[in-house]
Structures are given as structure tokens and as C-alpha cells.
């Protein structure tokens, strides 16, 4: 094992730029070009403190929420007005589905379901994830230069956060970048021509070169087995450089699509960072740097000072009045803000032609809370918004309001079924994604939401 690994490091180290074409990523790109298969992209937008069902339900359909429901309610959206905070999504009504009354009791409940929202299993912020979440899984299945990209609104100078939301597999938590400037540097730093970004990129390049020289020098002082240990570390420098080689090869496309670095990237106001994150996410999808992005809009400590709510999400969740807004109004403002940003991103994707439609047609987008429907949740209901149009010819998200039977009733479905729908729409063979709810053992819980698949 050791030998072959070392061997491959050495061999790969000597490969020229041309032979990089044989990496899995490039193979994937090549396959895409030759088969003409449309790319598949995924964006998950999460918020903390729950997404209440009545607030995403068109006023005309709110009566459905009142009485117990035994059968799936499937109503069109085109004919009804969206709730006030969703109006920015009007142009995308025909690609949208409001999904109601699916549950997620196989996940942790309380202040957060952690990995549950995207993984349909019980997670915790103190334990390693036991499986992959859907964003990590899809990133693996549809590889790219960066595979998964996670972006989160943080505060102050915070850089990488580990919010226990995404996972690439058992024990492999995925990071979220809070600092838009650092995210920009990682993603688009290679094309920067002037300004601070180029400086930072140049500096970290120098650091990597300097230290890898140091490592090589130390290696010469050591005997076989010990020198070999350093090869594993050196491989890291090589890989970081390898990524840069890939990026160098993508200069044209990156130059065309890199977001403009505005004041929002460096602003001391966190909400500006969220705006920058959506810009980055759009550009990352369009330029093909990643096919699986997750944006975590906030956590319980976040404050929305920038949109006039200088208090914490936690306080709001507990009914705090912030300035002149009561708690409900604050929640409305926050949701509206998120969806306006999302709408902006969708407009960008809709402008890029792809196949016989646009890039938006080939992108699945989900907006939901990591904590189902409430600030303190029980996961009986997990309201969410799905955008996908006819994604890949498999999805039927075409302007619908879908409400499933209540928890425990025949025909009731879970967040696991929802995630399975996306996985199957992407053409993957998985029968079911995530864990089953042991409390629903008398229901058939496996498989997708059939209503949403062609």
C-alpha cells in the first residue's frame, strides 16, 4: 500500500499539464462533451430557526393547513398569489414547488437538525456525521474542481466554520467559508489582475513554495521510512498546486464569470457577506467550478443589522422585539431578504443558455431550514421550496403546491423521501436516501416523492 501510494505521488508529480486530462474530473468533463449530457447542478439554501409552513403558503391555500389532510393535495401555483415575502420568486413560479407536511423525525430536533436537513439522519454538533449528506454525495457523483462549496454568513473576521450541516461521508464534515473575500480568493483568485485579491493569492503561493522547499530539505536529512512520511505531507502541496493548474486552465471561463468584488465582500456588516455569497455561488455554478453548493444563510447567533434588525436570530426565535419590529416581522424581513437574493441568483442562471433551455433548467435549488418548521422543532413538518423545472427531464417541479398527509397517516412522506427524489432525478440509482423513521414503521417509507418524478 505504502509503496504504491508513494509511487503514485512521485509519478503524478512529474505529469505535465497535458496529462492532467486523465484525472477523473477532466474525464467527467470530456464525457459530458462527447455524450452531450446536460450538466447537473445543485444548490441548497438553508436558514436556521425554522421555516414556518403558513409563511410560504399562498393565502388562497392556507385553509389546507387548518384541517387534517388524508390525501396528497396537489394544486397549481400559477393561478394564485404567492405570500408577500415570496413575491421575488414570481418570475420562477413555473419551476417552483411548495412542499408541505413531510416530516423528519429520524433527525435531531431542538435548535437544529444538524446534518438531518440534508442527510435524513440523526446528527449532532459534538459528534462526527455518520453518513454523507446529499450535497456531499452529489458533489462526489458530479465531480468538479472544488467538488463541494459551502458558504455561510458569519460575523466579524470569522473564516471557516464547521456548522455540522454537510458531510462527504462518515466522519467527514464539510466546511463552510464565512469570509467572502477568502472564498473569492479560493475560487477565483487565480484570475485576479489587480488589487488585494491578487496580493493574497501571490502571498499564499509564495508560502506554499517556501514551505514545500523546507519539507524537501528536511526530507534529505532523513532515512527511507521517515522520509516517506514527509511524502504524504508533500503530496498536499502538490495537490494544492494541482488545483491551481486546473484553475489556470480555466482562466477564460473564470474571467468571463467571476463576480465583481464589491464593498459587500469586505464590509463589516455580515448581511453584505450573504449578498456576496450569493454572487459567488452564481458565478461558481456558471463557471463550472462546482456542481454542488450549500449556502447556510445564518445561525442562531447571527444578527441582521444590515437589513435593520440588529438582534440575534435566537432572540427573534424567542419572540424578541428588535427596534421597531416584532419577532414575526423580523422573521418576514429575513425570509424576504434570503429569497430576494435567491431570486437574483436564479435570474443570473436563467440568462445563460444551455442545451435547449437555460442553465437554470439544469439546476435543482432547495430552500429550507436546518431545523424544519420552528425555532424549537419537533420535525413533524418540514416545509420547503423546490425549484427545478423539468430538471433533466425527470422532475415535475412546474408550479405546484404539494401537501402530504399528516404525520403518521397513510401516504405520509419524510425528508428522506424528498432527498431521494432529488437523487433519483439526478439519474442516480439509490433506492432511498437517509434513514427511516422508526416511529413510522407501519408505513412504506422508502423511495421518492412519486408526485415529483416523471
Amino acid at each position: 500500500m505504502k509503496y504504491s501510494r508513494r509511487h503514485s505521488i512521485k509519478t503524478f508529480g512529474k505529469l505535465s499539464l497535458g496529462s492532467m486530462a486523465f484525472t477523473p474530473f477532466m474525464n467527467h468533463l470530456a464525457a459530458q462533451r462527447t455524450t452531450g449530457a446536460t450538466p447537473k447542478r445543485f444548490l441548497f439554501v438553508l436558514k436556521s430557526s425554522g421555516l414556518t409552513e403558513e409563511h410560504i403558503t399562498p393565502p388562497a391555500y392556507r385553509p389546507f393547513l387548518e384541517s387534517p389532510v388524508d390525501k396528497v393535495i396537489d394544486k397549481p401555483l400559477q393561478s394564485v398569489a404567492l405570500p408577500e415575502t415570496l413575491t421575488s420568486l414570481d418570475p420562477f413560479k413555473d419551476k417552483m414547488t411548495i412542499v408541505q407536511r413531510i416530516s423528519g423525525k429520524m433527525c435531531a430536533t431542538g435548535h437544529s437538525g444538524f446534518y438531518g436537513a440534508l442527510g435524513a439522519f440523526k446528527g449532532s454538533n459534538t459528534k462526527k456525521p455518520i453518513a454523507h449528506t446529499i450535497d456531499g454525495y452529489l458533489a462526489k457523483k458530479f465531480p468538479s474542481v472544488f467538488n463541494h462549496v459551502g458558504l455561510k454568513m458569519g460575523n466579524g473576521s470569522e473564516s471557516v466554520a464547521y456548522p455540522s450541516i454537510s458531510s462527504a461521508g462518515g466522519g467527514k464534515q464539510l466546511p463552510y467559508q464565512c469570509n467572502p473575500m477568502i472564498a473569492y480568493m479560493n475560487l477565483f483568485g487565480s484570475i485576479a489582475e489587480s488589487g488585494d485579491v491578487q496580493k493574497k493569492y501571490a502571498a499564499s503561493g509564495n508560502i506554499l513554495d517556501f514551505v514545500s522547499n523546507d519539507v524537501k530539505k528536511l526530507k534529505r536529512q532523513l532515512n527511507g521510512a521517515e522520509a516517506e512520511k514527509l511524502d504524504y505531507y508533500l503530496e498536499g502541496f502538490d495537490a494544492l498546486k494541482e488545483r491551481r493548474i486546473k484553475l489556470t486552465g480555466m482562466q477564460k471561463i473564470l474571467n468571463q464569470n467571476a463576480p465583481e468584488v464589491t464593498d459587500t465582500f469586505t464590509s463589516p456588516t455580515p448581511t453584505h457577506h450573504l449578498e456576496a455569497h450569493f454572487d459567488l455561488a452564481a458565478a461558481t455554478l456558471i463557471s463550472g467550478l462546482s456542481n454542488s453548493i450549500s449556502i447556510l444563510c445564518d445561525d442562531l447567533q447571527t444578527n441582521y443589522d444590515g437589513i435593520g434588525i440588529p438582534g440575534t436570530v435566537h432572540g427573534i426565535g424567542h419572540g424578541a422585539t428588535i427596534g421597531e419590529h416584532n419577532s414575526e416581522q423580523c422573521r418576514d424581513l429575513i425570509r424576504k431578504f434570503h429569497l430576494e437574493l435567491l431570486s437574483g441568483l436564479m435570474h443570473k442562471l436563467a440568462k445563460v443558455p444551455e442545451g435547449d433551455g437555460t442553465m437554470l433548467d439544469n439546476t435543482v435549488i432547495v430552500y429550507l431550514s436546518d431545523n424544519s418548521d420552528k425555532h424549537h422543532s419537533f420535525a413533524n413538518e418540514w416545509p420547503l421550496l423546490l425549484f427545478g423545472g423539468k430538471f433533466n427531464g425527470r422532475l415535475k417541479s412546474t408550479g405546484r403546491y404539494l401537501q402530504y398527509p399528516d404525520y403518521g397517516k397513510q401516504g405520509h412522506r419524510t425528508i428522506g423521501n424528498f432527498l431521494t427524489t432529488i437523487v433519483q432525478a439526478a439519474g442516480l440509482p439509490d433506492k432511498h436516501f437517509g434513514h427511516l423513521d422508526l416511529g413510522l414503521s407501519d408505513l412504506d417509507q422508502e423511495g421518492p416523492l412519486h408526485e415529483l418524478l416523471v
Partner: protein, 823 residues
């Protein structure tokens, strides 16, 4: 022509690499003649193996197969048969190495060399040779790199740079201060600060060698994922050291109608305003470079680089290093600005090999045996990290506290280390005028990175020139080991962090493996008293027992194997008890019969039922040990934590328990599970586990299982929840077993139950030696080599001569040549 020759050599198949025929003729053939060919002869070869027909043609697959069979039989001590005379240990070792080496050359290797680096296979090294005194080679450890273990990184990074402080102010609540100015002057003000552990990623994952349970070994490497994470963390750290730390500040004003709740540092309701402020402790040398207009002078750059060395690597850079960091990094990055240039020096150091690995190259003096002593700087780390997870050096240049009661405390800044408070102006915010700015500033200053003192104090000792020789090491060890380890459990899932000399507890945890109890999932409905939190309490109980016995420091191992003392770290708790007492009164007044009383119900739910002990009768047992019934418990291996950790989801696991004793106490080993074995015990709800296990007595299974099952079966006297039992499936439980193939005269034989077995093992010389071997591995971070023989013999002697003192054994190991010399 020349070219052709080279070409030919490249084309030669590996298999024709010359066989070492000399050893074959002089060593291997005589060995086979002496020990094997009597039975494996041409006429009536046992097991169809005719060793007269054997040859050394390793390019033929049939020959390879025969040698593989021989290797397996001899290596695993299957052959010669137990009743025949044992081969000479040294000779046997050589034969095994010859076969392994030839198989490797032929491309059908056993991977023995690689396996011998892993703790799981350390027992392959001949126990007899290690302890019979025939080897007198001077001991040493090969020059090496030892990857920083996760705990050390955590102490270095998380404690200093990985915490996110928050400051909360509440106006109008229950505060003790009064707002002095602004709109709210005169109202009460409370301040609350909290540290949130930033969820930074530890670049050095915890590695577990499963069979051995060891998590930190010098054969573990740092790789690409380590680098990526280190880089991100280093950037964070560089920012804190140069521009300060961002502290979110929130000010909450109590409105009419808002109320308190159990929210840390916050109101439920009220009006809230928050902002972020940068605060930091920046070194004067950095300030000078950062504030200089244009290119800083070489002298200033050098001073700044030296300061980086001191802060991160705790040493002075040599002139060449300082020049390189100055020229190749700082100056090269100057076009990116002074801040970036300085940060790049810090970042580079925090991803440098010296930060990632402990370098133990042997930089001290060379002796007449070609060995080099560890230098002072190598020694201070080696010794410190043998016992602690926190660094040997104090932060910055602070003076150590003269107050001896202030543990590891630092008093005041060093003379040359003036503090500089980086205060960013607070920008205007929506509720401007509300806060008392002076008060906020004053509070925030306390948020400066609190300098920390080293726990061991070894850095100071080294700086004073008193950590060079074996005698120095012994003196410091005696000082550090003189403290009492026993500590009451805290509500911390990693008490190893909180105790003095945490590595000692960690050793016993990894040796016994009882701390894995919470990882074994069991359906809690099966036992009223069983819960995941209960398993954590069980682990704390055993932690305490171990610390208690190490503090006693007499016959430590023997006591650990035979004591019936125990602790209960978790009591019932006042609230449930009071509620039950109240219900009990009602219950008694109603004179209900035929059902459990509320108190009984409460007791039955407590995890102490895993010990068959009523929690009501075990008061104060978190402070001092009490006796479990002698007829039920004997030693750590009968503590519920150990039993649960070595059980599976539904039942006992006699195989794993037996394997544990075979490897940890008898220094033996068992063949890896062959790949064609689908190890499964047939289900049968009418049979006891022992009865169901009878399937492994088939010959092909038994050749391995005979080394495990007889040792594991005596634990059938316990339920898989750790509870003592006398019956299973309505039948009296059979607890007999046997010790066999131990390699010690008089130790082998049938045992009636776990009590007889543990007493026999506790008296055994081999068990003590096995314990010494395992301690060696843990504290040296590597497997024993034959040249460590004298180290092991001395450690065993130190233990025996001191009436079973663990500390004396440890001092012997850590002052040995194996610890002090590199080659």
C-alpha cells in the same frame, strides 16, 4: 551495448532477485531438519507436506505456496506442536525473517516489515528474546518524526486561537453595575462573557489502531487533508496575532414585556443591538513592522521574524533561518503590503514540518555506540508530551507566578514585552448613545488573549540549562509524578483533559479499552437501567478507580486485575430523588401491594444496577471507593465499562474478550481473520451463547479460536450490560474456561470461573512483562525492537523491586536509552 545491458536489467522479472542461499543452507535447512522433517517426511508426510522435497525456487508458485504455509505455521506458533521441544527463539526469529524476506522478493510478501511498525502486530516480536537477557545491544530509537497528536494541536491552537469570545451587556436587568452615561444612565447593567469553542477543524485526526486501541504512534503521518486544514487555521491565527480578534458584542435593553429565560447571555425579548470589535494582544515587534512607512529596516524585519519563532516554535531562529524567512518570504511578499508580509511568515511557520511533527533526530552528542542523545530542545518536547497534551512553554515572555498555589499561572508581562491593545474604533450603530462606551472598553480589555502558563514547567527548566542528562530527566519525572492524580469526575466527556498527567489515564484507557463502552449501541429498552449516559458514567467510574490505584502505587497491575473496589461517579440526583420520595409517601399511604414503589422504580432505572448495586446504598461513592460483592466482581475486566466495551449490540463477545487477554496480558497474538471466514454465530433462542459457540470447535475454526474462546468464556458470568448473573436462558450459567499457550510454566490450565482466572493472571510474570511491553509502546510511540530488550528488562525489574509501582516503571522507561538516544 551499454544501453542494451541497462534495458535487460530493467526487464528482469523481480522473482529472479537472488535468493539468500547461504542462509537457506546454513540456517533454514538445519532448522527444518531439527524441528519439522520428523513428521513431514517423504514416506507419510503429515498434512501432506513433504519437507524433504522442499527447495528455494521462489520463482515457482508451488514453492511459494509451500513457504507461505510454513511461514504461517511457524510465525503463529502453530508448529512445531505444543508438546514438542520449542525452537531456540533467536534461531526461530531468523528463520521467520528469511522466509518473509524471500517471499517479499518473490512478490508474494507477507508485509511483515510494514506490519512490524504497527502496534497491532507488535506482539510478533519474540517475547522470549525480549526478556531472556540474551540481547545486550545498546538501546535507541531510530531518528524519527512524530506527528503532533490531535490533543496537542488542540492545546496549542484551540486554546489560543480557536475560541470565539462573545460579550453581552444587559441594560435594565439584574445587573450589579449602573450605566453612567447615555440614554440609559442610571439603569442597571450586567455583563456576561462567554467563550464559544470555534468549530475549527483539527488537522490531525485521531487515529486508532483498532486491535491495539492506540491513538498516537510515530508511524502515523500528516497528509493533504492535514495541510489544507492547517493552512486555514494558520491564516486565522496570523490574523489574531497581527490585527486582533473579532469579538461580537451584543447589548440588550430590557423593554416592558420582555422577560428572562434560560438563554445564555441573553434576554428573551427586549431590544438587541450587536456589533463586532477587534481586540488583541499584538507584539511590539510586530507593531513596529506593521506601522513602518515603506520597507521596514532589516533589523526590524529580523526582530519580527525572531518574534514569530518565539511565539510559534518557542525557540530562536538560527541566523540562516531568520535570513531566509526575511528574504524569501517577508520581502518577497512586501509588494502585498506589510501586513500580508508579516502574516505570511507566521502562516509558513504554522504549516512547517516543525509545527506538524515533533522532530526527534538526535541533535545532541554522539556516543561511542553511534547513538546521538536528544538535544535539550528535543528532550523538552519528548518528555513533556510523554506526560501532557499541553505545551512545555509559557505563552509570550511572561513571568511565571511565584505563588505556588497558582498552578501554571503567569503574573505579569515580561519587561521587554510591552502590551499593545489594538482597539478599533466602534463604528456608529443604530442605537448609538445607548451604551456606556467607557464601560464596554474596560470590559473588552479583559478579553485579550489570556497568556497561559505551561502545566509541566519543563520549558523553564530547559531554559535554565537543567534538562540535559538522564539524571535531569529523572529529577523532573519524580517532581511531575509526585502529584496525586485522583480527581472527581467533571461534566466533561474527556476527563483526560482535566487531570494532572493526562497521558497516564490515557494509557490505561487505551490499554484496557473500557472507554469505548458508550460506542456500543444497545437497545435501551432491553434493560431498565441501561442508557447511553449510563455508559459514560461507567467509564468515569473506571477512570476514577484507575487514578485511585495509580495514586496508591502498590501492585498496580495486580490490583487492577483483582480489586473489588469501585466508584460511582453519578448519583441519582436530588430532583428525581425528591420527586420519588414525594410519590413514595403517597404510595405508602395507599398501601399498594404487588407493584414496585416509586423509590424502587427510581433505583431500578439507575445505571448502578449494571453493578447489581442499589444506588441508594452507595452514597458518597464518587469520592471514595467502596467494595462490590467479592463473589461478583474482580478487577477492571469485570467493571461494567469493560464488559460493555467488549460486547456487541445484543450479547457478550467472548471472542473479543479472549483476544484482549491473549494480546494485552499474555503478549500473544491471533491470526488475522482469514478472508474466507464469515464469522457468524448461529441464532437459537433456546441455547446459551456458549452452546451456540460450539460451532467454532470445528478444526478449521478452532486453530485460532482455541487462543481466544477459553479465555473469554469465564465472563459469561455477566450479562452484556455488565450485570452479574447466575442464569442464562433458564439454565445455570457455565463460567469455566482455560488459560493455554501462555508461554509460562504453571500458568496454563483449566479455570472454574473468572475469579480463578484473574488471580492466576495477576500472579503471572508473563502478564507483568506484557504490561511493560504495552506501556513501552504507548510512551515511546513505537513497537519494541530486539535492541530494546535491556530497557524492557529494567522496567520490569523497576516495577517488581518497587513492590509494583507504576511510577517507578514509568521512570525506568522514560530514563532509558530507548527514550533518550536516537540513531
Amino acid at each position: 551495448m551499454k544501453k542494451q545491458v541497462i534495458f535487460l536489467i530493467l526487464l528482469l522479472p523481480v522473482s529472479v532477485m537472488a535468493v539468500d542461499m547461504r542462509s537457506y543452507n546454513d540456517l533454514v535447512m538445519p532448522f527444518l531438519d531439527k524441528h519439522c522433517t520428523n513428521c513431514h517426511d517423504a514416506d507419510d508426510p503429515k498434512a501432506d507436506l513433504d519437507l524433504y522435497a522442499i527447495n528455494a525456487e521462489f520463482d515457482k508458485i508451488e514453492t511459494v505456496r509451500v513457504w507461505q504455509r510454513i511461514y504461517e505455521q511457524v510465525q503463529y506458533d502453530e508448529m512445531p506442536p505444543a508438546k514438542k521441544k520449542r525452537p531456540d527463539a533467536a534461531e526461530l526469529q531468523k528463520v521467520i525473517q528469511w522466509i518473509s524476506s524471500e517471499l517479499n522478493k518473490s512478490g508474494h510478501g507477507t508485509g511483515l516489515e510494514e506490519k512490524l511498525l504497527l502496534p497491532d502486530y507488535a506482539n510478533y516480536m519474540s517475547h522470549e528474546l525480549l526478556f531472556n537477557g540474551s540481547i545486550t545491544t545498546k538501546a535507541y530509537t531510530p531518528a524519527r518524526l512524530w506527528r503532533t497528536r490531535p490533543f496537542i494541536y488542540e492545546a496549542n491552537f484551540a486554546e489560543r486561537y480557536g475560541k470565539k469570545p462573545r460579550q453581552g451587556f444587559q441594560i435594565g436587568g439584574k445587573g450589579r453595575d449602573i450605566v453612567k452615561e447615555g440614554d440609559h444612565a442610571g439603569k442597571t447593567l450586567a455583563r456576561g462573557r462567554s467563550y464559544q469553542h470555534l468549530r475549527y477543524a483539527n488537522p490531525f485526526f485521531q487515529f486508532v489502531h483498532h486491535a491495539s486501541g492506540i491513538t498516537d504512534y510515530s508511524s502515523i503521518v500528516a497528509d493533504q487533508t492535514s495541510l489544507e486544514t492547517l493552512l486555514v487555521n494558520a491564516e486565522k491565527m496570523a490574523e489574531i496575532l497581527t490585527v486582533g480578534r473579532a469579538i461580537p458584542v451584543s447589548v440588550t435593553i430590557k423593554n416592558d414585556g420582555s422577560k428572562f429565560a434560560n438563554n445564555p447571555g441573553g434576554f428573551a425579548g427586549g431590544a438587541v443591538t450587536s456589533f463586532v470589535k477587534n481586540v488583541g494582544l499584538i507584539k511590539p515587534a510586530f507593531i513596529k513592522v506593521l506601522n513602518s512607512k515603506g520597507t521596514p529596516s532589516d533589523a526590524d524585519i529580523n526582530t519580527a521574524v525572531q518574534t514569530c519563532f518565539k511565539v510559534l516554535l518557542h525557540r530562536d531562529g538560527n541566523p540562516e533561518e531568520v535570513r531566509r524567512y526575511g528574504d524569501d518570504l517577508f520581502k518577497k511578499n512586501l509588494p502585498q503590503g506589510n501586513l500580508m508580509a508579516l502574516q505570511s511568515v507566521l502562516i509558513a511557520m504554522a504549516i512547517s514540518p516543525e509545527f506538524v511533527y515533533r522532530l526527534e533526530l538526535g541533535m545532541g552528542e554522539k556516543d561511542s555506540h553511534g547513538r546521538r542523545h536528544l538535544s535539550e530542545h528535543e528532550l523538552v518536547y519528548a518528555l513533556n508530551y510523554a506526560l501532557f497534551n499541553s505545551p512545555p512553554f509559557d505563552d509570550f515572555d511572561h513571568k511565571r507566578s511565584k505563588d505556588k498555589n497558582k498552578k501554571g499561572g503567569l503574573d505579569s508581562p515580561g519587561v521587554d514585552d510591552l502590551l499593545y491593545y489594538a482597539k478599533n474604533k466602534i463604528s456608529k450603530h443604530p442605537l448609538d448613545g445607548v451604551e456606556d462606551m467607557a464601560l464596554i472598553d474596560e470590559t473588552l480589555e479583559k478579553f485579550l488573549m489570556t497568556p497561559r502558563g505551561s502545566v509541566s514547567g519543563l520549558g523553564e527548566v530547559m531554559k535554565a540549562g537543567q534538562l540535559k542528562t538522564k539524571e535531569d530527566v529523572e529529577r523532573e519525572l519524580r517532581r511531575l509524578l509526585s502529584v496525586k492524580l485522583f480527581t472527581r469526575p467533571k461534566s466533561d466527556s474527556r476527563p483526560a483533559h482535566r487531570i494532572k498527567n493526562p497521558r497516564i489515564l490515557q494509557f490505561f484507557r487505551e490499554f484496557f479499552g473500557y472507554h469505548h463502552a458508550p460506542n456500543v449501541f444497545k437497545d435501551e429498552k432491553r434493560f431498565a437501567y441501561y442508557s447511553e449516559s449510563g455508559t459514560r458514567s461507567m467509564v468515569s467510574d473506571t477512570d476514577q478507580l484507575i487514578l485511585y490505584l495509580v495514586d496508591q502505587d502498590e501492585n498496580v497491575l495486580e490490583n487492577m486485575l483483582t480489586t473489588n473496589l469501585s466508584f460511582f461517579s453519578t448519583s441519582i440526583g436530588n430532583r428525581p430523588l425528591k420527586a420519588a420520595q414525594k410519590a413514595q409517601e403517597k404510595f405508602e399511604s395507599k398501601k399498594i401491594t404487588g407493584e414496585l414503589s416509586p423509590i424502587e422504580k427510581l433505583h431500578n432505572k439507575h445505571y448502578s444496577m449494571s453493578y447489581n448495586v442499589n444506588p441508594g446504598s452507595a452514597e458518597n461513592s464518587s469520592k471514595k471507593p467502596f467494595n462490590l460483592p467479592k463473589a461478583q466482581r474482580i478487577g477492571i475486566l469485570t467493571q461494567p465499562s469493560w464488559l460493555v466495551a467488549h460486547s456487541n449490540n445484543f450479547e457478550n463477545d467472548p471472542v473479543r474478550r479472549g483476544k484482549w487477554i491473549r494480546e494485552k496480558l499474555l503478549a500473544g497474538f491471533v491470526l488475522d481473520v482469514p478472508i474466507n471466514v464469515d464469522a457468524k454465530v448461529p441464532e437459537d433462542e433456546h441455547k446459551t451463547l456458549r452452546e451456540r459457540f460450539s460451532v467454532v470447535e470445528a478444526e478449521e475454526c478452532w486453530r485460532c479460536h482455541k487462543k481466544m474462546n477459553p479465555l473469554g468464556m469465564p465472563f459469561e458470568g455477566y450479562h452484556d450490560s455488565g450485570r452479574f448473573r447466575t442464569e442464562e436462558k433458564g439454565k445455570a450459567v457455565a463460567t469455566n474456561g482455560a488459560i493455554s499457550y501462555s508461554g509460562e510454566k504453571g500458568l496454563d490450565g483449566e479455570v472454574a470461573n473468572v475469579f480463578e482466572m484473574m488471580h492466576k493472571l495477576a500472579q503471572s510474570k508473563r502478564v507483568k512483562q506484557s504490561f511493560v511491553r504495552h506501556a513501552f509502546r504507548f510512551f515511546m510511540g513505537r513497537n519494541e525492537l530486539l535492541s530494546d530488550s535491556q530497557t524492557l528488562i529494567n522496567a520490569e525489574k523497576a516495577y517488581v523491586d518497587s513492590n509494583g509501582s507504576f511510577k517507578e516503571m514509568l521512570i525506568s522507561l522514560l530514563t532509558s536509552d530507548s527514550f533518550l538516544y536516537r540513531k
